[in-house]
């Protein structure tokens, strides 16, 4: 029984959650001149200063698994075809190193010609589901955050943060857009 969150909302995650599936989805508006669009999910495991501790804690299409397999990216969907989740990231809470305080989940537009922005992307959402193994691609939904229609020229989104607070994990529905694509986020966290 998932709860639907609004931007800014913070909720505690079920403390029995050992493994979570973070599913991200979106639709690209069909007014564009055909072709498919490549949006990429990524995750940054951050220390107390909100920065990466080691480069391999940045999980994305070219680095599918962080240390210990704490965060695993299930692969790059190049066209965005299909209903439901477009890309999936699995978080294994038991394997997250103690020094990691936060995991930032992002979606960015991979578009060398700079034609596409989040202004042309709709129905972007993130869901967190409880799964018992990394082969369970459905899970039991805990929460969902629909990002809404407020973007224009942005090419990168910080969708949500999963972070420690007082010894428990919480979810913050951030929904903040940036221009500068994935590089802008890498610069922010490095």
């Amino acid at each position: 029984m998932a709860i639907n969150l609004q931007k800014g909302q913070r909720v505690s995650l079920d403390d029995s959650l050992q493994m979570a599936l973070v599913g991200l989805g979106w639709d690209v508006n069909q007014f564009e001149t055909g072709g498919s669009y490549d949006l990429d999910a990524s995750a940054f495991m951050l220390g107390a200063n909100d920065k990466l501790i080691v480069d391999s804690d940045f999980v994305f299409y070219n680095n599918l698994s962080a240390r210990n397999g704490a965060v695993v990216h299930k692969g790059d969907n190049l066209t965005g075809e299909g209903e439901g989740d477009d890309e999936v990231i699995i978080i294994n809470f038991n394997k997250i190193p103690d020094e990691i305080q936060k995991i930032a989940i992002c979606v960015t537009i991979h578009d060398p010609t700079n034609r596409l922005t989040f202004g042309q992307v709709s129905n972007a959402f993130v869901r967190v589901a409880k799964v018992s193994s990394e082969f369970d691609l459905v899970g039991e939904d805990q929460l969902r955050f629909d990002l809404g229609e407020e973007f224009s020229i942005e090419t990168a989104l910080l969708v949500c943060e999963i972070y420690r607070y007082n010894g428990a994990w919480k979810f913050s529905a951030v929904g903040a857009g940036y221009s500068g694509g994935l590089q802008a986020l890498v610069d922010k966290y490095q």
């Binding site: 609004q6 931007k7 800014g8 909302q9 913070r10 909720v11 909100d50 407020e150 942005e154 910080l158 607070y165 919480k170 913050s172 529905a173 951030v174 903040a176 857009g177 940036y178």
Partner: protein, 194 residues
Amino acid sequence: MAVNLQKGQRVTLDNSMKLALVGLGWQTNQYDGVDFDLDASAFLLGANGKCMRDEDFIFYGNLSSRNNAVVHQGDEVKGGDGNSDDEQIIIDFTKIPPEVEKIAVCVSIYDAENNHQNFGQVSSAYIRVAKLAGEFDTVGEDQIRFDLAEEFSIETALVICEIYRHNGEWKFNAVAQGYQGGLATIVRNYGLQC
């Protein structure tokens, strides 16, 4: 010894406070978007729980009350590093007019609705109420402290605490009630027009 409070907790505190400092701090916007402008305010309330006159509402537009019982030290519009006070209100209990039975301390986000902002988005935002040793003490000894972003999320205005008279002494309740609709909602709840 400061009590780190959670929403809903009521605490009865040291009633020997003559001078209190309300300190509000927050970090500049860590995400893309307009800076957060948080505002501390205080309402001097009568026995009916309402604000009896406009001048008894202390905020960025009215920095001191009658007799200087409550004095706001000035408006900060963007925030700082989240580790020290960006706005402060000083309350001198010895100068509070006799018909004032209660003082409500509030925090709100300026123009939150237009900027699509709420407390869940503000990093390192806190409010503290400290007992001051004298008029030259600017730090005080924390009595209560709230982490605003973790205890509130989609709200845009909060009544943090009420300091009230009881049997000739001042007592303290951590109300921690949040509202959407910004400072205007709280102003109207306390009986003023806006």
